[in-house]
Symmetry: C2
Subunit: 324 residues, 2 copies
DNA sequence: CCAAAAGTGTTTGACCTACACCCATGG
DNA sequence: CCATGGGTGTAGGTCAAACACTTTTGG
């Protein structure tokens, strides 16, 4: 078992390393998280907070050889007893300290481009959603909100139990010790400390960035993010994924504004309401929203009908609109 | 580089092996190919040839340890200098002796279920289409028809040159010599030498099966086939993939019957014609079909507009129906 | 002439868009 | 009472399913 020390010329005979990267979206970063600034913030630009909500993505700063110091997607090598989905879950929990509200496979990237010098790397990308419930909840890697798994995803075993050691991924090549690779984070100063008053010092090597203003990313992660964004938009248009961004109860207005944020365009409230209800997957809670400067809105809940596995998850070009 | 001889208990420390499996579809098997019989052929059942066309899938018989003798999807481990797509191409060329007309990533399967004893295996599945042109053409691994690559697939390097050695995949674990893993095909009938006449005996370990009557498959390949079938159907409904099954020129009637075969239901000829033409991607060749017992039909050609990359390839649940 | 498939035209209904309009609340 | 968003109603356009009908060939 000495392949960890293989020389560069030997590496090409090694099997490719399998890593998972996850693009997670949230409508706003957790309060205790540090906020990344790409440095490209234009004065009058579309900075977050100009009215509509924007999407945020958690990134991890690399503390190892290739792309040292660059920001990268949360992720890491698969362990021998983990599902790919489990790896994605673990990586997200380790970086964000919360379980996502949705997780789905995106695409597998296996380019050779990454220099013939290094060991070959195959990356299976996932995309995830954090709802406001998860974001609001105090950090902690509890397996409670264990990501309602996507029923259609054919990935074998169900989401396994919570992870064990809080390892962080910093090197695509799983060289050296596999088990305890908790590489001590360099560049501690890094991003600004806690934003809110949250006591627990956040990991300085994890920060949330506005999807519009990402810093230069390591590897081909920019491409992965682009793919994930496209997919998120695409799915929002024909599915009811948007509700995953919200808590259990929400008003239709809220759901619509989320949809608008993701889609990047406005939607007619009246028509949105009709379509959303026509889906048949929303049910009234019976309660009303309180404390609004206008007519109180009904609260809805999402009926989690274990929907039929969609024929084409992971299809990069798909559409289907199943007819009734 | 001695990990090839690692004992079972050591295997769990090895990185997972990365393999590619491909589900290829064709409307009928090549003439020189052997035809598999699942043994479950019912007398009056929906055997191929009852009128409508059916789908055929090439399988490879395993000649190695796990699942020895079972049929499996064409595929094999990725080489260190290959794109995932290239691996899929190579595997298909080696098994079918032809290049597919379309190739697209399907999903990545990384279950752990496959016993903790063996080395972990991550499979990236592809689906492919063989058109009647490819099927009709004499066998030969010429790089000519080099699979019009799917433009939307973010997979790095373009389809590489033709493969080198005619290796066949028989073991998911790339144990032993990796570099020269041209494991001498057992049952030597093997890949026929030159293209020459169709004389060369077909590989007895490769056979085409009707998609309705597949034999028991190795690993989780049955699941993969199911996923591929679902995706093919789904994409046929909202895309013009169907034409890939045909040659360059075809009548609308032919295109429709292919669509019907894939979808498993009939389609109104009049409406199909309108929709197909409305797509704007078909153009008349100016010629007419000859020798039909009815009014001759116009021949059409597919205009290969390098279409915009579809936002969600590899999305297992997608739909989008891009509006105009 | 007849069968059979190629084409064309027309009706119908579903659905989506846009927009007008009432409802209920906090300030 | 008014601004604001919740919620309902309705007219017009687009599109696809269904089907009637004409056209052109081979037998």
């Amino acid at each position: 078992m000495d392949y960890g020390s293989a020389s560069a010329s030997e590496r090409q005979y090694l099997p490719p390393a399998v890593a998972v990267s996850a693009v997670a979206f949230a409508l706003r970063p957790p309060d205790e998280a540090s906020i990344g600034d790409a440095g490209t913030r234009e004065p009058g630009g579309a900075s977050p907070g100009r009215g509509s909500t924007t999407l945020w993505i958690p990134l991890v700063r690399r503390t190892r050889a290739p792309f040292l110091g660059r920001w990268a997607l949360p992720g890491g090598p698969t362990r021998w007893n983990e599902t790919l989905t489990d790896t994605a879950l673990r990586a997200l929990r380790d970086a964000v300290l919360r379980s996502p509200a949705a997780l789905e496979q995106l695409y597998s990237f296996g380019s050779v481009e990454r220099s013939a010098e290094a060991q070959r790397l195959v990356t299976i990308a996932y995309w995830a959603l954090y709802g406001e419930e998860e974001i609001a909840r105090a950090p902690g890697r509890r397996a409670d909100g264990a990501a309602r798994r996507d029923p259609g995803a054919p990935d074998g075993a169900p989401a396994a139990a919570a992870s064990t050691a809080p390892a962080r991924w910093d090197d695509p090549a799983p060289a050296g010790d596999l088990g305890a690779s908790d590489a001590a984070p360099i560049a501690a100063g890094g991003a600004a400390p806690a934003a809110g008053g949250a006591s627990a010092g956040p990991d300085p090597n994890v920060a949330w960035f506005s999807a519009d203003e990402l810093p230069p990313l390591a590897f081909d992660h920019a491409e992965i993010v682009a793919t994930a964004l496209a997919r998120l938009r695409s799915k929002t248009a024909y599915t009811d994924v948007a509700h995953r961004f919200l808590g259990e109860c929400f008003t239709l207005g809220r759901l619509r504004s989320v949809t608008e944020a993701v889609l990047g365009r406005t939607v007619d409230p009246a028509n949105f309401r009709r379509q959303a209800l026509a889906q048949g997957r929303l049910e009234e809670t019976g309660e009303l929203e309180t404390g609004s400067p206008h007519r109180p809105a009904k609260l809805y809940r999402f009926r989690d009908t274990a929907d039929a596995p969609d024929p084409n998850a992971t299809d990069m070009h798909a559409p289907t609109r199943s007819r009734s």
